[in-house]
């Protein structure tokens, strides 16, 4: 009974109330000078700043979002194209898995930020370097999620397919891939959010646009309001992408929606 769902409508109403209480408390604390607005501007001040950044003559916010999204999605898709096939192979072949696992264990905990020096040395300061930062920040996780998803496919299904005459390639195409898809999509959703956290690292050097860049320069100019707008923009963008991803899941996994709860 403890894990009972509240239902979409009720949970969103409660969520909205929670958010409202949080924002009001924040607003009051700043307006009564309990919190110095220089350290943390009030929500209304942040909204003002956001409006200013979207409507002014040289408005930058929407362009920033677009540019950052391009960088993140390019790096992320590169990770998917390399990580998913590699993960499938690793999931199916214990020898390859045993050989690659230690390497992945070394790479995976490295923060995207730590790749800046090497990526600059190898790729310079252009867009490739930014894609590389996002790639390095998300690749190992995608590989691990794919491997796990592949390994979680019930081995009895492989047997059933073999018994029906499927070749190894057909098993990969018709059993492993669709069988791993639900876990794989869940993993990719998590990694997409991780990829967004890399944008700060990716836009630390050699950038002159993007949300990460905007946060860094706002810091140099002591513009806390703009820092917050940048941060919230990242959250909102990830949230929107998450919703889009859910839509993709519904399209790709129709059977899950129909059979949920059984």
């Amino acid at each position: 009974m403890e894990g009972k769902e509240l239902g979409l409508w009720r949970s969103s109403v409660i969520g909205a109330i929670g958010l409202l209480v949080f924002l009001s408390l924040w607003e009051v604390l700043v307006r009564t000078n309990v919190i110095d607005p220089f350290f943390l501007p009030a929500p209304t001040q942040v909204i003002d700043k956001a409006i200013q950044m979207t409507t002014a003559k040289d408005a930058v916010l929407l362009t920033d979002i677009k540019i950052s999204a391009t960088r993140v999605l390019t790096g992320f898709l590169l990770s998917v194209f390399v990580g998913v096939p590699a993960g499938l192979i690793m999931g199916m072949n214990p020898v390859i898995r045993a050989a690659i696992n230690p390497i992945i264990s070394i790479i995976r905990p490295l923060p995207a930020l730590s790749w800046i020096p090497l990526s600059m040395l190898w790729l310079g300061i252009d867009e490739q370097q930014k894609y590389a930062i996002v790639f390095m920040g998300s690749f190992a996780s995608i590989l691990v999620y794919t491997t796990d998803a592949t390994m979680r496919v019930d081995p009895i299904l492989r047997r059933a397919a073999m018994n029906l005459g499927a070749s190894p390639l057909q098993i990969l195409r018709y059993v492993i891939l669709p069988g791993a898809l639900p876990d794989l999509l869940t993993g990719l959703k998590v990694v997409l959010a991780i990829a967004w956290t890399c944008v700060i690292s990716a836009e630390m050097v050699g950038a002159n646009s993007g949300l990460g860049f905007r946060i860094w320069t706002a810091k140099e100019w002591s513009d806390t309001g703009q820092v917050l707008v940048g941060m919230i923009s990242i959250s909102v963008t990830v949230l929107v992408l998450d919703i889009l991803f859910r839509g993709l899941e519904r399209v790709l996994l129709p059977y899950q929606r129909k059979t949920s709860g059984t």
Partner: protein, 263 residues
């Protein structure tokens, strides 16, 4: 005896474990004729599932050969269609797509596929549920789908690994009758594994009782009960006498196996 569809020729299967080798099956010989429904009963751990997996080609015997139509089985054999206890249906495919899986990967055209699947779906009584996903079905319907999927692949023999063990008693009874009806309709050869003596008696032409570890043939019964699958059969004297005999034999083996476990 040349008409044997499956022939176990002195099969031994050893598994190497860390503690040492375990002989699961030893010197096992048996023949299954075309059109026959043969059931293997035995205590758990007597190696009956190992036997089935060897026929399907998932395992290879340590010594001896299993012959299918006189040819040794060396790889996974689609001609031996397996029905798993846990259905093993593809949850992302509808009933129809599950049934068409075998024909599809074997290159049967879409049109023929559709016609055949419709025929088999009707045969197992799933008409109207073609577009449902396995997750939406009851256990009995899932097992019908699994049966249907194997039949659509036109195997020479049906291997059933305790297929009704996960079902409730009533559904189980109905499924047993259904299986009999379908098998009688199509003249399928069936190798059935169960630990339920009732199930064996209702379904089989022949019952093989296995001894435990190492698994060998202990006794073979030819059953001449009417195969209507009707519940009434179970109340006849002949039925009860057979049941008592087989149970006495199996009980002995169960006790042995429990002693082995506890020692």
């Amino acid at each position: 005896m040349s008409e044997a569809l499956i022939k176990f020729d002195n099969i031994t299967k050893r598994f190497s474990l860390r503690k040492g080798d375990i002989v699961a099956v030893k010197d096992f010989s048996l023949e299954i004729k075309k059109g026959e429904i043969l059931t293997i009963v035995g205590a758990s751990g007597c190696g009956k599932t190992t036997l089935l997996n060897m026929v399907a080609g998932f395992l290879t015997p340590s010594s001896g050969n299993i012959l299918l139509d006189g040819q040794p089985i060396t790889k996974v054999e689609p001609r031996c269609g397996m029905i798993f206890q846990n259905y093993a249906l593809f949850p992302w495919l509808s009933v129809r797509k599950n049934v068409e899986f075998g024909p599809k990967i074997n290159g049967v055209s879409k049109k023929v596929r559709r016609e055949e699947s419709a025929k088999y779906i009707e045969m197992v009584g799933l008409k109207g549920f073609e577009d449902a996903y396995p997750g939406e079905l009851s256990g009995g319907m899932r097992q019908r789908t699994a049966l249907c999927r194997v039949l659509a692949n036109k195997p020479d023999i049906l291997l059933c690994d305790e297929p009704f063990a996960a079902l409730d008693a009533m559904t189980r009874q109905i499924m047993q009758q259904e299986l009999l009806r379908i098998v009688n309709e199509s003249g399928q050869t069936v190798l059935f594994i169960t630990h339920s003596i009732d199930e064996a008696l209702i379904l089989s032409d022949k019952i093989v009782v296995m001894s435990v570890r190492p698994g060998t043939v202990k006794h073979i019964y030819d059953i001449e009960l009417p195969h209507s699958g009707k519940v009434e059969v179970q109340l006849t004297d002949e039925y009860l006498k057979l049941k008592r005999q087989i149970w006495a034999m199996v009980e002995e083996e169960v006790k042995i196996s429990m002693n082995i476990v506890s020692s």
